[in-house]
Symmetry: C2
Subunit: 343 residues, 2 copies
Amino acid sequence: MPLKNDLVLRTIRKEKTERTPVWLMRQAGRILPEYRAVRNSLSGFKELVETPELAAEVTIQPVDILGTDAAIIFSDILVIPEAMGLKYEMIEKKGPRFPETVKTVSDLKKLRVAGAEEIQYTIDAIKITKKELDGRVPIIGFAGAPWTIFAYMVEGSGSKTFSKARAMLYTNPELSHQLLGMITESTIHYLKGQVAAGADLVQVFDSWAGILSPMQYEEFSLPYISQVCDAIQEVPKTVFAKDAYFARKSLGRLDCQTIGLDWCMDIKESRKLVGDKVVQGNLDPCALYGTFDEITAQVKQMLNAFGPYNHIANLGHGVYPDIDPLKVKHFVNVVKEYSAGMR
Amino acid sequence: MPLKNDLVLRTIRKEKTERTPVWLMRQAGRILPEYRAVRNSLSGFKELVETPELAAEVTIQPVDILGTDAAIIFSDILVIPEAMGLKYEMIEKKGPRFPETVKTVSDLKKLRVAGAEEIQYTIDAIKITKKELDGRVPIIGFAGAPWTIFAYMVEGSGSKTFSKARAMLYTNPELSHQLLGMITESTIHYLKGQVAAGADLVQVFDSWAGILSPMQYEEFSLPYISQVCDAIQEVPKTVFAKDAYFARKSLGRLDCQTIGLDWCMDIKESRKLVGDKVVQGNLDPCALYGTFDEITAQVKQMLNAFGPYNHIANLGHGVYPDIDPLKVKHFVNVVKEYSAGMR
């Protein structure tokens, strides 16, 4: 069915749109009481990810409640390691934990390249979302960048330094490249499955991009993101490499349409570095702790810096869970109204 | 007494030295079995910080064992909040925790500007170190940058996002500036005390610089670092603002002699941005997990990028606690030998 609101897609095609489109990373989640009601009826986060009807329900909530111009499927980047054979637990208030990690070639041999059908719950969630949204807004599919997934599979949990994962790049580059290759292949299968199920565009999240040196980023992250981008030709692609300021020029050369910016990245400088890509972002998530008037001022300043076209408004990272949903809605509304006036 | 090895100071004066000087952030600490022997005889980390004879002993260990060109006094940046009236605990394997934090003006009113005499243990540790080193190498004094100290005092612990601390900048900029002012004044007293006790140079660590947007960094961090730099005219100053790539030009305008670089910062680009300052850094701490040969190659590559002069070799962040001390010693030796050959 044709999309009723295709503003995100027209912006990505660099059309002269009537206003700037807006959505938020982590818009489907803990900020909304409606989400918490669903979540609290279940045993945990993973049950929600793995129950397609409910994942679809929380995916659509922000479209209804906040008025965003896109829905992003509710899931988790760590479904890929799990499908490859590395189970994880999501520990309340602490984050993910892998009881087993990849340390040696024999650990690697226990893993397999995953097919999309091994993450059927998210594929099904996209199908249900597609049907229930009935073309109201596009659906964003997503996956972690291979380096970020690698970081969790080797480290075993979140970390300030990911020193185990980064150590492996120095101590066993061959094993590192093998694992990155398997993750990349799995990710391509998974994203293709998401597109086949109805995702209108996809985003690759390189959440731990910023802890690699520029040289290591060029060797261990960019080539694999590039493979993913090259493989997905069916829909537009966004790459968000958090904190990888040093790689903006290289990111601009990827076969993707949009580059996400975090809030530390200067807007004008980034536009210059990424070339003719559309850019997405980048309000500091903390700005939404401010008053309504302060948020208005911050959003206007951001929109003025980006200019009216080739920009998808978003935060510079996921929305923080304790932000007042009315403030989030205000962010969305100010983007809509002020950007319309910029034409 | 005159210094026998004043290579660090001559480099800072931009003299044509016979080789590149080298030391490591966190060189006095868990990497050395000799440190752990001292540490394990005590109740905890804070007891070591607060026992001048033992703090001096572990300060001197890396000079003896690793052959570094400077000693950095063993202490903690959080002695400042404690001296201002905000006690903290150091929880094994977790990091610092403040039972009370600053949330309101009335919390602020309970605090005071600290004098150096309230951190007498570190002042005394410097005096003992000075005497025992007998001029072998210079002593580096240090403090946290006001923003980084503020971040802990408001957040109450380490954090991936420091969202409470950053929220306060948006919700109560006035209170934020008041607290930052008090921290700055305390820091100046403390650094002056360290210099009077014998510190030959000082370093300001802005460990959480990189989570502020460029605009907020200009408002809430740089002016206070600038006040600290302006107030300390007795000895050379180094400013290390981790991850604040966007602020390198501004850092280059501070009244300090040396700018520290982390491992994500491109060396040539950073040299251009910080102007005529001496630069310090910046090998990826994870590189020391590699083999001896790999470390040799990495160090040579780094030294070639920095060039022979106006550079103090270091890592791009503190040395990780599980690095083999022989690898650290190898890092030091390769810097010494290879840089001598670059003349």
